[in-house]
């Protein structure tokens, strides 16, 4: 893992994964798995199924990275959530949790314990807001808002990660808040 891993963008982590740095994919997993899990749990209402789907989603992302590498410069969240959504739909179609990617990669089934389920439910509660936001905001605004409001990071640091100026980050955060206000107003 390179020394700059903490501030690497998702796109850079994917590039490094393709270049043979497997730890980069581990970093991406740690960074994004809670979002994917919350997204799936919200739709399945079943922690075990959501965890199973999440494992398939990340396996499918590896397969996609090998077969059809995406062009991602910033956040991989939209890409991962699209794979998660497709995995979910395919699972409904087949009447069982999709496992094609894990079969292809010869991954073992992972045991799920009671502690895992409890943790998923706790994480879901914390990240449900984020999953909601992911559906309402464009990816650039979501990343900016998350980094600034949820992660409480500085504009300059966020700007370096997102490869833009601090002014652009401020504008994205502002637009995100404005979008959410309008959405909430329309909802009420």
């Amino acid at each position: 893992m390179g020394p700059d891993s903490a501030v690497s963008t998702d796109g850079e982590l994917l590039d490094r994964t393709r270049a043979g740095d497997r730890e980069a994919f581990g970093l991406l997993y740690e960074r994004r798995h809670e979002l994917v899990l919350a997204f799936l749990l919200k739709r399945t209402r079943n922690p075990e199924v959501a965890m199973d789907l999440m494992a398939e989603t990340f396996a499918a992302s590896l397969v996609a990275l090998a077969d059809r590498p995406p062009t991602i410069s910033g956040s991989a969240a939209p890409w991962l959530l699209t794979i998660a959504r497709n995995t979910l739909i395919d699972s409904y179609r087949r009447g069982r949790v999709e496992s094609a990617a894990r079969r292809r990669l010869a991954l073992e089934p992972v045991e799920i314990g009671d502690g895992d389920v409890e943790r998923v439910l706790r994480v879901a509660a914390e990240t449900e807001l984020l999953a909601d936001l992911a559906e309402e905001l464009p990816p650039d605004q979501l990343d900016a808002l998350r980094a600034r409001v949820l992660d409480e990071r500085g504009y300059e640091e966020i700007a370096r990660e997102l490869e833009c100026s601090a002014a652009v980050v401020r504008k994205r955060v502002s637009r995100a808040i404005s979008t959410l206000r309008q959405t909430r107003k329309a909802g009420t």
Binding site: R22, Y92, R93, R104, D116
Partner: protein, 438 residues
């Protein structure tokens, strides 16, 4: 990090390292569990059935041919799995035909396998006994009223569950032929011994000497060999022909030696909800493919120190209809039905479907809180379609009591994962629709 996430992440790291040839990825490949489907996505099948062991020298009379297999999907030249192409299947010249013929492990008539190409571009597999160069089934265990005669299996008696796409893309990524059904025409009067259903419903258990474990499949032109465990030994056999076919017939002892509840479960049929992959994963341990000038391996029991795990490079790029296909407006008509709504969707097809490799389908997601179901898909449109043709399909949307929300749906065109499975890969959205569940 919990154990689940730790284990999940470690497996992904190992896979990433293997997939992208990481120098850090030389961790030993573990011998994988056989409890769940972990075999790489290749087209294989296995079935456990009762098949009486006639002595090969015994004179067996000939009865009526097997009638075309009845199924839910009616096939024609341009619908369903299609019908056999004339001359697409070779007549097996003799019982010892070297192509796809294996001896019966208990001395009965040899077993044969035929590959049939259909008008919709599928490859279907027929497996049965060989007698005088003909493929057929025996009137035993309830079939053909136990007449003991040999009944020829004509190419037209196709079981759609044994059909799969012939292109490499689907072959390597999809499930392939499930081959979970019993032989065509078979209505058994007894249950196989290893089945959990054995003895159920007053049905007697088949004699052990009448049971066989059969595995067969098509692995494509790059396949080199398949390996399987029997009697605690690993056996390897070469695949045959341009379709990479294999056929394995084992005596009951092959599974009784390692009898487990798991294998018993594998004898269930798809209608009972068991993934086809479970059954497949139980017999084949490893498949070796040729990848350019190298060899690679796939399966639940990878050889440590053996060839690398197979990648996607050998499958080539898919030839899905152009991404530039124009979007089509979707007309929607909703009718209230018990338990939900029947949505009739009509659209103009922007691209052709000329075989069963691709299909149009409708799917949706539902934005609504519990108890709403989050999404679903309609029956795929399994027929040839011309560009510009008006297409209509009906999809049922289940509405649980108390569920209200907006359905966001789309018409997609994509590759089918297996025969008649609907668009699964490389899906292109050709139209969108929405409907508010009142």
């Amino acid at each position: 990090m919990s154990d689940f996430h730790h284990d999940c992440k470690q497996q992904l790291l190992t896979a990433a390292g293997t997939l992208f040839h990481s120098v850090e990825a030389q961790a030993p490949i573990q011998r994988h569990s056989r409890r769940l489907p972990v075999l790489a996505a290749v087209a294989i099948g296995a079935l456990l059935l009762a098949a009486a062991a006639f002595a090969a020298s015994q004179i067996i009379g000939v009865g009526a041919s097997v009638k075309p297999f009845g199924g839910s999907e009616r096939s024609s030249l341009s619908t369903g799995v299609g019908v056999p192409l004339p001359g697409s299947h070779r007549r097996l010249r003799s019982a010892s035909s070297p192509a796809m013929s294996v001896p019966d492990p208990l001395g009965g008539l040899p077993w044969g396998m035929r590959i049939v190409t259909t008008t919709r571009g599928l490859l279907c597999v027929q497996v049965g006994r060989l007698r005088d160069g003909l493929l057929g089934v025996l009137g035993q265990d309830g079939r053909f009223k136990n007449d003991g005669l040999f009944h020829e299996l004509p190419p037209g008696a196709l079981d759609q569950s044994t059909c799969s796409q012939r292109d490499l893309f689907t072959l390597y990524r999809a499930s392939g032929p499930s081959a979970l059904s019993t032989l065509p025409g078979e209505v058994r009067s007894c249950s196989v011994r290893s089945s959990r259903r054995a003895g159920a419903a007053g049905q007697p258990v088949c004699p052990a000497r009448d049971e066989r474990l059969i595995a067969f499949g098509l692995l494509g032109p790059h396949a080199v060999s398949v390996s399987y465990r029997a009697g605690n030994r690993l056996h390897t056999v070469a695949t045959s022909g341009s379709h990479g076919a294999y056929l394995i017939v084992l005596p009951p002892s092959a599974w009784q030696a390692s009898a487990s509840e798991d294998f018993s479960a594998a004898n269930l049929t798809p209608s009972e909800g068991l993934p086809a992959g479970v059954l497949r994963a139980y017999l084949l341990s490893r498949v070796v493919f040729r990848d350019g000038n190298h060899r690679c391996q796939a399966g639940p029991e990878l050889q440590i120190g053996g060839p690398p795990i197979c990648g996607a490079s050998m499958t080539g790029a898919p030839s899905i209809p152009s991404r530039g296909a124009r979007r089509s407006p979707v007309a929607l008509l909703a009718r209230k039905r018990a338990g939900g709504y029947a949505l009739t969707l009509a659209f103009t097809a922007p691209a052709a479907v000329h075989d069963a490799n691709t299909a149009y389908g409708a799917e949706y997601t539902l934005e609504g809180a519990a108890p709403c179901e989050p999404g679903g898909a309609g029956q795929p449109i399994e027929r040839d379609i011309k560009p510009g043709q008006r297409v209509q399909v009906t999809m049922f949307v289940n509405q649980k009591p108390g569920c209200h929300g907006v359905i966001h749906g789309r018409i997609v065109l994509g590759r089918q994962g297996s025969a008649l499975s609907g668009p699964t890969y490389d899906k292109r959205t050709v139209g969108r629709f929405s409907f508010a569940l009142p």
